[in-house]
């Protein structure tokens, strides 16, 4: 009976009250959106654009209509992927057998058929949310214990039980038809187009700023491990390539801050083209010469940082870093949430206990007031400024600078103003869902710094500790690369990656134009795909009324001329390094190229594939895996092995079918 009387029951539904936290977060999100809305109206019409990368910044307001997920909802959504991720992590990263056999003797992947577990009994929503939290904590727990068990080789009983509860991994063959949707998330990411093919006769010169950021790789890794293909716009190929340590030949003395190695090799994904591989290695500052460091940590302690993969992870990372610093170095800590506050005045590392206590005392709470925080951090950095040393602010955040805050553009302007004071700024991103990747990039690029994304303690160790000498000790700044191609030998070219780092041709010689910095011992790699003149792979027809041939006497037989401009970290006038690329740089086959060259090309292919670049459409993940696997080298930290597992994962998720 569905008469009006029965339907009248509908009005009497017993509705559970919303949780106060959800209510608060909704009101806070609305207030934030409201403030943003106001700012957007006020700043309309201001269009200062001193640098190419700036033009995207006013997109920010438009992106605001993305949904701000509440923590509880996030936890709910993440529950499944996290469970899967934990399983994946256990299977791939730390092969723990279901028996208590020594780890070393266990294969990473057990191919024996595993029965499909029956669906778990349904749980109530609240319990589900709680389970999600438990899951992420458990994941941390398992990871920690797994590290411990690696040493002992044997797991304890409790751990075994946990492992036994993990779902098993399906045989890969069952996954062939699965195409995983690309992630849609509320992280703010700058969108950009892949570099197009250029014709040498028309634009023989390619100019860009170097980029030693690595955030994109960590972001891509996290997406893949959570079972999603990354959004193409989060894939910045150059950051993926530069994530890996390469053993390029470095300069012998600090007088020449870097050495350039150029290799020309056949393109694995196209028979008709070649790759022009430019590898730059910065001078490695020897510990004796290591200048004193003055580090200011600017830490977001807003409520959203209260997740296992955010503040607790940062604390652990800071403990590692503090142990690595010299007694004469200074550390200060500024936090920002409802309002900015100094937690630790500049303190010498010799007083380690005081620093560690301050790190332990960091607790999340409140919303975010980033601008005041940045100003305070710059003030502290200047108050304990070390002349000739490393003066750097490390900003750790999961996304926003909001309350009382303006748009990305004005923050960027603030950072630009402060840049001239000699204080560098690095941005460390944490967590997911609200990550403002675009802001991180903008701040780091304009504040002479790097942006890194930290998803695991391992990554924190890589970024803060292992890379400490390179990210903390800049040896050159405003490093720009300009490559001029010889129209007599090269007809077309395409720069792989660096889309967000493009510079105008005339900017190369303009010392007022800002560009990327290079740290001690840092390697930066850029790869061009070039089409030799007369190759069947030429895509653009020659002009019937072509221009007169270039002067064939100059640089006869050369492919290109690589020019590099840089400034000393404290200098204002740039210096120039040039390297002609000749037949002598060429290797006959791809396999003849160096291990590191081949590996970086594999990463480039992978990145392009995740961006759906048409050039690599017919190149399979399988081929990428083979290429990378044969170029794995020593891989002391396991980064390259991890890359291989990401390639397999993308393949299993149907990354090539999504194109």
């Amino acid at each position: 009976m569905t008469d009006d009387h029965t339907l009248g029951r509908l009005a009497k539904l017993d509705i559970p009250a919303p949780r106060p936290a959800a209510r608060e977060s909704a009101v806070a999100a609305a207030m934030h959106a409201f403030a943003q809305e106001k700012v957007q109206h006020q700043t309309q019409g201001i269009a200062a654009q001193p640098r190419l990368t700036h033009r995207i910044l006013n997109l920010w307001g438009k992106i605001m209509d993305r949904k701000l997920l509440s923590t509880s909802a996030l936890a709910g959504i993440l529950a499944l992927p996290l469970a899967g991720y934990t399983a994946f992590y256990l299977m791939k990263e730390n092969p723990i057998a279901l028996e208590s056999a020594p780890v070393a003797a266990t294969p990473a992947y057990a191919p024996e058929p595993v029965p499909v577990p029956a669906p778990e009994p349904a749980v109530e929503s609240d319990a589900g949310v709680a389970a999600a939290y438990d899951m992420s904590q458990m994941q941390q727990e398992v990871r920690r214990q797994a590290q411990a068990s690696e040493a002992s080789g044997v797991m304890d009983k409790r751990e075994r039980k946990m492992v036994a509860q993990q779902p098993a991994v399906a045989p890969v063959s069952a996954l062939q038809d699965v195409v995983v949707a690309e992630e849609t998330s509320s992280d703010r990411v700058q969108s950009f187009d892949t570099n197009p093919l250029k014709v040498v006769a028309e634009s023989p010169v390619s100019t860009f700023s170097i980029d030693s950021d690595t955030a994109s790789y960590a972001y891509v890794r996290r997406a893949l491990k959570e079972g999603q293909l990354p959004q193409p716009d989060t894939v910045r190929v150059e950051e993926m390539i530069n994530y890996f340590p390469y053993d390029w030949k470095g300069p012998d003395s600090a007088a020449t801050p870097f050495n350039t190695t150029v290799t020309v090799m056949p393109t694995p994904w196209n028979n008709g083209t070649k790759l022009l591989h430019v590898a730059i290695k910065g001078y490695d500052v020897k510990p004796v010469e290591q200048p004193k460091a003055n580090l200011v940590f600017l830490i977001d302690v807003s409520g959203s940082m209260n997740e296992p993969d955010k503040l607790p992870l940062l604390r652990a990372a800071m403990r590692m870093l503090v142990n690595k610093l010299q007694p004469g170095d200074t550390v200060s800590i500024v936090t920002y949430a409802g309002e900015a506050g100094t937690v630790l005045e500049p303190t010498k590392v010799s007083d380690k206990a005081k620093i560690l206590n301050a790190v332990e005392a960091l607790t999340p709470g409140g919303s975010t007031a980033g601008e005041a925080g940045i100003r305070e951090a710059y003030r502290l950095a200047q108050s304990s400024f070390v002349k000739g040393g490393v003066n750097r602010i490390m900003l750790a955040t999961d996304g926003d600078f909001n309350v009382g805050q303006t748009d990305d553009g004005s923050l960027t302007r603030l950072v630009e103003e402060k840049r001239d004071s000699g204080v560098f700024l690095s941005v460390l991103g944490f967590g997911r869902g609200n990550l403002n990747d675009q802001m991180m990039q903008a701040l780091a690029q304009n504040g002479n710094g790097t942006a890194a994304y930290i998803d695991t303690l391992q990554e924190a160790e890589k970024v803060l500790v292992e890379d400490a000498s390179s990210t903390l000790f800049p040896i050159a700044k405003d490093v720009k690369i300009q490559v001029e191609f010889n129209p007599n030998t090269v007809s077309e070219y395409r720069l792989i990656g660096y889309e967000t780092r493009a510079l105008a041709r005339e900017d190369f010689n303009n010392d007022a134009v800002d560009a990327g910095e290079i740290g001690s011992g840092h390697a930066v790699t850029a790869i061009y795909e070039i089409t030799p003149k007369g190759s069947p792979a030429e895509q653009v027809d020659a002009l019937r009324y072509g221009k007169a041939e270039a002067d064939s006497e100059v640089g006869n037989g050369e492919f290109a001329f690589v020019k590099l401009r840089y400034k000393q970290p404290d200098g204002d006038v740039s210096k120039l390094i040039t390297t002609p690329v000749t037949q002598a740089n060429e290797v006959a086959s791809f396999d003849a190229a160096g291990t590191d060259q081949r590996f970086s090309v594999a990463v480039a292919a992978f990145g392009q594939k995740l961006r759906h670049a048409s050039e690599v459409r017919n190149f399979s993940f399988d081929q990428i895996e083979k290429m990378a696997s044969s170029a794995r080298g020593d891989d002391p930290f396991g980064y390259r092995t991890e890359f291989l597992s990401l390639v397999r994962l993308a393949d299993a998720m149907g990354g090539s079918k999504a194109q």
Binding site: P18, E124, A170
Partner: protein, 180 residues
């Protein structure tokens, strides 16, 4: 004395954030209630409510007072609820795909069951969007057909038609569920 809604709205439209905050605080429960009726899950309803609050920040300026504020809120909330469902369908597809990879056993949580009216609501939630909106507004929120028509942006006669069709469909659904 409490500031009137009309005054708060007009202050908020001029950019007064305190007034806007008060307004959102005042209507949060209303939005949440409608959202809960629509999706029947606390976590989802909270999401929808937050979404509506954020949309409100942008939209308040364009609210001209032509219709009652609550009418306007009804339609925003229903739209947001539909958007969330669309998103979670994608989400689920992804999870399904991933489950194939990880063979994760967990299944999607069912709607919470609370009271007898709930079974009926579960049936209502299986109706088409328009029918679902109409039943929610007319029977859940006890609006007149005319106001429901305002909210849905359709004519009163069409609302009545949707209600009529919904009743027929509900009868079938409830019979299938063993009620009646």
């Amino acid at each position: 004395m409490k500031t009137g809604d009309a005054e708060l709205i007009s202050l908020a439209r001029q950019g007064d954030s305190a007034a806007f905050g008060q307004l959102v605080g005042r209507y949060y429960d209303f939005i949440y209630r409608v959202a809960f009726r629509w999706c029947g899950r606390q976590a989802d309803a909270e999401d929808v409510a937050q979404d509506v609050c954020v949309r409100l920040a942008r939209a308040i300026e364009s609210y001209r007072g032509g219709s009652a504020f609550t009418t306007w809120l009804y339609s925003m909330t229903l739209n947001a609820a539909r958007d969330l469902r669309r998103r979670s369908v994608r989400e689920e597809m992804r999870n399904d795909a991933y489950r194939a990879h990880a063979l994760s056993a967990a299944s999607v949580e069912p709607a919470e069951t609370h009271d007898p009216a709930d079974e009926l609501w579960q049936a209502v939630r299986q109706l088409s969007d328009k029918q679902r909106d109409a039943v929610l507004l007319v029977y859940g929120e006890e609006l007149s057909h005319a106001r429901a028509a305002d909210v849905m942006g359709i004519s009163e006669a069409t609302v009545s038609w949707h209600i009529h069709e919904a009743k027929k469909r509900l009868k079938t659904l409830m019979r299938a569920a063993g009620e009646v």
